[in-house]
């Protein structure tokens, strides 16, 4: 049985690689801007239904009208005039392992990720083992009626109408320039539907499939958890993804129906040349719960503020996030929540660590609308700066439109105390280990929310980053 699956998968992968080869037509290279022709061609190659073709073109129009955001960290490094170069990068995903930058390769080595898997991360072969894992997961949950498939198949299959009904309704292309870009050129991603009352016991992970597909650039994730159902979805990369191009504008839309619960965990560790302009949003109906666990480590610049709209009475959101910015990184992260119904609650806990001149900005927006009486919201953000060149900012916004809301906010910015380092060293622990221990401790409330293998990996990432501090600069 597994043999059939393997064959099937390899064929599928080959097909997708072929797809993108077609897109890499020489004539594109001379085109500076993103044109309707290019978008049409992407649509045609992907075999979009007609409405999607129109949607892409409309998004392109919007994209051309909107300007690049200027309120966050600079994204001048992105050459918007040559956006085609970013749209086409999937073609280059099947580059050579030897082309992967050394720092990322070293990270893989030190994390002990097997060579076969490393190859698949660079986009060459070896997807096969991962795909089997994926299929096993899918088989088990399929028996519960859960749909877990790639977006392209979802668009054409049995759930085509459901996809059409929800696709970019939470994050419309008009939201911002990169949402419009996403609407025009999106490719890859996952579609998940959990039927009413179904509780998915094992977390679904999109990690493997993303690698195989090589669709890490503009992927779209659409998850619908129907009434009273439960799902834990883990997305992104547990290990660094390597992308040749340097723009990631993904989109995640989560629909949590009445009484349902969705836990969405992700660790993003992009290569250090990446502009990560990702948009994530959840709509939560009556009595539903969305729980976000979010780790941001890599990228050159990130704009990432998962948003929850608490639309039904008693809806809840919890957000747990950690951001680690090292040398040359500007990570602008946080969370947004809109309390649109009475007795809704939100709980945001974030930590950020900056070192070697890295900059972390915590940015959040809590809105409590007039009709949303009896709401509760608590925000706590803590930052740790590991040296004097590093920077940490906190920008929490609150817009409270009624007078019976229970709102709390707590912010702390600090440094590693010399006394604490001395204390640990006085017990024989080397200075760099003492610092790493303090930093891991700082991150502990977040790592304990992660699935264990991710927690281990996050700690490894912290240790790696800390080691680099004391390592000689090469």
């Amino acid at each position: 049985m597994s043999k059939v699956l393997q064959k099937d998968q390899i064929a599928e992968v080959d097909h997708s690689l072929y797809d993108f080869k077609d897109v890499e037509h020489p004539s594109f290279e001379t085109n500076a801007g993103l044109t309707p022709e290019i978008v049409e061609q992407i649509s045609r190659k992907k075999g979009d239904p007609e409405w999607m073709r129109e949607f892409r073109l409309k998004s392109l129009d919007i994209y051309n009208q909107l300007s690049v955001p200027e309120w966050g960290p600079p994204i001048d490094g992105l050459d918007m005039r040559n956006i085609v170069a970013y749209v086409r990068p999937d073609t280059q995903m099947h580059g050579k392992w030897s082309d992967v930058p050394d720092d990322i390769k070293n990270t893989f080595e030190r994390l002990g990720i097997p060579e076969a898997e490393r190859k698949s991360l660079a986009g060459v072969g070896a997807q096969y083992d991962s795909e089997i894992v994926y299929h096993n997961v899918r088989k088990e949950v399929a028996e519960q009626g859960v749909v877990y498939t790639d977006m392209e198949s979802a668009l054409k299959g049995k759930y085509a109408d459901m996809v059409r009904e929800h696709f970019m309704k939470l994050v419309p292309p008009t939201d911002h320039k990169f949402a419009a870009l996403h609407g025009a050129v999106w490719s890859g991603g996952s579609f998940v539907y959990v039927p009413p009352g179904v509780s998915v016991e094992i977390p679904l992970q999109s990690y493997f499939r993303l690698n195989a597909r090589g669709a890490g650039q503009f992927e779209h994730t659409l998850i619908i958890v129907d009434k009273g159902a439960y799902l834990h979805f883990i997305e992104g990369c547990s290990a660094p993804k390597y992308n040749v191009a340097n723009l990631h504008a993904g989109c995640v839309e989560l629909f949590v129906e009445e009484g349902a619960r969705l836990r969405y965990s992700t660790i993003e560790n992009w290569s250090k040349n990446m502009y990560n302009l990702n948009t994530k949003r959840a709509l939560v109906k009556k009595g539903g719960t969305v729980e976000w666990v979010s780790g941001s480590f890599g990228s050159h610049t990130s704009y990432l503020y998962p948003m929850s709209i608490l639309q039904g009475e008693g809806a809840r959101m919890e957000f747990t996030g950690i951001t680690f910015a090292g040398k040359g990184q500007q990570l602008d992260t946080g969370a947004k929540v809109v309390h649109a119904a009475p007795h809704t609650s939100s709980h945001i806990v974030t930590k950020s660590i900056s070192k070697d001149g890295g900059e972390c900005t915590y940015r959040s927006a809590v809105t409590i609308q007039k009709q949303a009486s009896g709401c509760k919201s608590s925000v706590s953000c803590e930052s740790l700066m590991l040296d004097s060149q590093s920077r940490s900012d906190t920008i929490p916004a609150m817009d409270i439109r009624n007078d019976d809301a229970d709102v709390g906010h707590e912010a702390k910015i600090g440094r590693i105390s010399d006394d604490a380092v001395f204390y640990l060293m006085s017990r024989g622990i080397r200075e760099e280990d003492a610092r790493a221990l303090i930093v891991s401790g700082f991150a502990e409330p977040i790592s304990k929310e992660l699935p264990v293998e991710y927690a281990v990996e996050m700690n490894n990432l912290i240790k790696l980053e800390m080691d680099q501090e004391s390592a000689p600069v090469c």
Binding site: A420, F422, Y423, S426, R427, G428, E431, L437, S440, F442
Partner: protein, 250 residues
């Protein structure tokens, strides 16, 4: 083995440019228990910090030898691995790191050997019991939310687990109730053997009751102004430090 464990000679040290230790000499041999007394601000805690190499303190002159080797310029962690320990007056809180994990990391660091997990757990459990510490403290974050007494007990616990050659106890008895003093002093007695040594900084004779004290030093103005036997403790209890300081000044 060197016949002297610790030899401090002509030690001058300052903090924030202010000289605190002013030509201090002190020798401790294996098996001995030394008591360091003195008025507030005399430099008692400074001495402990300087012996451990706290980078906030600057050594301007003098030497510190441990087992015959000059450690004056060595980093704190290296000194700890040689077997020097200090129980802190107000130990730091380290959120996110449990007491047990911390002890495990420290034990591995000072022994330089992999830890025998089961033996370690057994030792930890037993030692905590002997200090009347609830087991749950092992899983709590290091010193976070510990009461003053629990922090002091946790310091003694570390001493008992790490088994240093020289333990400096910096006012370990301050702020403790009678029962806690008894428990802590029992822990100290449990630690003490013929080859290790204690340097106890204290204001309180109570903690010394069960211990055989070899020498008592009175520190004032950054120098040891008088050294004697246990009888000196009684003298100080009766008359205070003033007469000793005045005697030294003449």
């Amino acid at each position: 083995m060197a016949d002297k464990l610790l030899e401090v000679s002509g030690l001058h040290a300052s903090v924030d440019g202010k000289e605190i230790l002013n030509g201090l000499n002190l020798t401790v041999s294996p098996g001995e228990t030394h008591v360091l007394m003195g008025p507030n601000g005399a430099g008692k805690s400074t001495l402990g910090n300087v012996i451990l190499g706290n980078p906030e303190y600057k050594v301007n002159a003098g030497k510190i030898l441990f087992e015959g080797e000059d450690i004056t310029k060595e980093k704190t962690d290296a000194r700890a691995r040689r077997g020097i320990f200090m129980s802190f007056q107000s130990p730091e809180e380290v959120p996110g790191v449990t007491l047990e994990d911390f002890l495990r990391v420290s034990k591995r660091a000072v022994t330089g050997k992999p830890l025998k997990v089961f033996a370690f757990q057994k030792q930890l459990k037993k030692t905590m019991e002997s200090l009347s510490m609830d087991e749950s403290y092992a899983r709590r974050y290091l010193n976070v939310g510990f009461s003053g007494g629990e922090k002091k007990k946790a310091e003694i616990l570390q001493m008992l687990i790490l088994q240093p050659k020289l333990a400096i106890l910096d006012e370990t008895d301050s702020g403790l109730d009678v029962d806690a003093v008894r428990i802590v002093s029992e822990g100290i007695r449990q630690y003490k053997n013929e080859s290790n040594a204690l340097l106890i900084i204290t204001h309180n004779a109570k903690i010394l009751e069960n211990l055989k004290v070899d020498a008592v030093h009175v520190l004032a103005d950054g120098k040891i102004i008088r050294t004697g036997g246990p009888e000196l403790i009684d003298e100080i209890s009766r008359t205070g430090f003033r007469p000793l300081e005045e005697g030294a000044a003449q």
